[in-house]
Symmetry: C2
Subunit: 233 residues, 2 copies
Amino acid sequence: MLQVRDGLLQVLLWRRAHDPFAGSWALPGGYLEPGETLEQSIRRHLAQKVDVRELAHLEQLETRSEPDRTPHEWQLATAYLGLVPSDADPRIPDDTAWHPVDALPPLAFDHESIVLAGRERLRAKLSYTNVGYALAPREFTISQLRDIYAAALGHDVSATNLQRVLLRRGVLESTGQLRASGPSGGRPGALFRFRKQTLEVTDQFAVLRPPSGAGPSSLLRSRAFPAKGGRHR
Amino acid sequence: MLQVRDGLLQVLLWRRAHDPFAGSWALPGGYLEPGETLEQSIRRHLAQKVDVRELAHLEQLETRSEPDRTPHEWQLATAYLGLVPSDADPRIPDDTAWHPVDALPPLAFDHESIVLAGRERLRAKLSYTNVGYALAPREFTISQLRDIYAAALGHDVSATNLQRVLLRRGVLESTGQLRASGPSGGRPGALFRFRKQTLEVTDQFAVLRPPSGAGPSSLLRSRAFPAKGGRHR
DNA sequence: GCAAAAGTGTTGTGTCTACACCCATGT
DNA sequence: ACATGGGTGTAGACACAACACTTTTGC
């Protein structure tokens, strides 16, 4: 479960009470109950840590099966990536805490590599989808959004270009509103929101895309009128 | 397991001998043995159908857990995408056959949706990675490669542009060789090969990429010399 | 010479980055 | 007025699609 807090990308970790790895930090989760899907199970386990309504996006990452990933007993684990908007401040139990992904404590099992894989997935999807909605508050100024993107991506982001890219793609829309300017002055920022609150691919990055006029399956298409004489056009 | 055969994208299916779904077609696979990773297990089951050396690429797709995806007993399944070069013609057992993905017979369980998900993954990766190596023969002409891409993508592909895109990205390299021209004449084609035989992302499709000069983590960077007077340049 | 197949040259388009400049507010 | 932060205008780089044209072969 990732969130941008205090300008940093952070992950919710849980301090293990029991062996193995008693006392060290781990990702929240647990066993699958009979009759439950993996997604239901993750949501159930997370609900014990955080109000589920805060969870703005959840997607499957990968199933790990290495026999030595857990000691004593062999366990398969399916990892999920969950995202929480940066303005949510869920009450969390005493045995959990947010940790910056850039400065993780030693983690139990293979959880460190799972966290890093989740971060990579998030970074990729920030580029070509609208997942931003799951990290941002409902309404925000472009600079707020820029800080969220910068924290998640790990590098500076230009507010100018971020605005233009997301507007051109139709990912953001303007609420007519303005945010009052801060105590140190400055022009008030316009408030924006994500047009959709569900995942959408916004950049097909599909080089090798279908030829302009053609339908999806042109394999059966006959090359009508082999152009004996005239060029049309 | 997907392959381009006879100009069509096809999937290797296995006719089930036993209930449930006795007699209908299904994806090859089977139970995980103790101490085995999922990947080892898939390779083991596939080896019973096809020589494993033919498998040029294998990647995990998704784990399905819906309780009603199998009758009577609840089973989780982790789906993998395997690719075989189009010049391989593996000996396959009598109870298996290749089927065009465009014209699947009714499949057991949720296997149809898995096949379609695999095709989507393949199509996406053809655009931004070098996965083509896993579908193409070791050496090929551009038109052969175009036919393979066209079959996998489901639409016409321009040989001209395919060549330029893949060369520009450094994905293909020319062997000095020429292929003899066919019986109907025509200029002989140059032979190319994929520079790498392992998966590589070749198009970052990373809009929102780091600013040109900056290292990966510029969050800790102090904005040295706040430019009191002079502009530098 | 002519058809077939392969390959190159060239133009136009869209999307992005970078950077200069203008705008609105607080003190 | 001027500092602070927000927003627009514009130019250049790049990757790609489309298509005209040239090259090399078989017949």
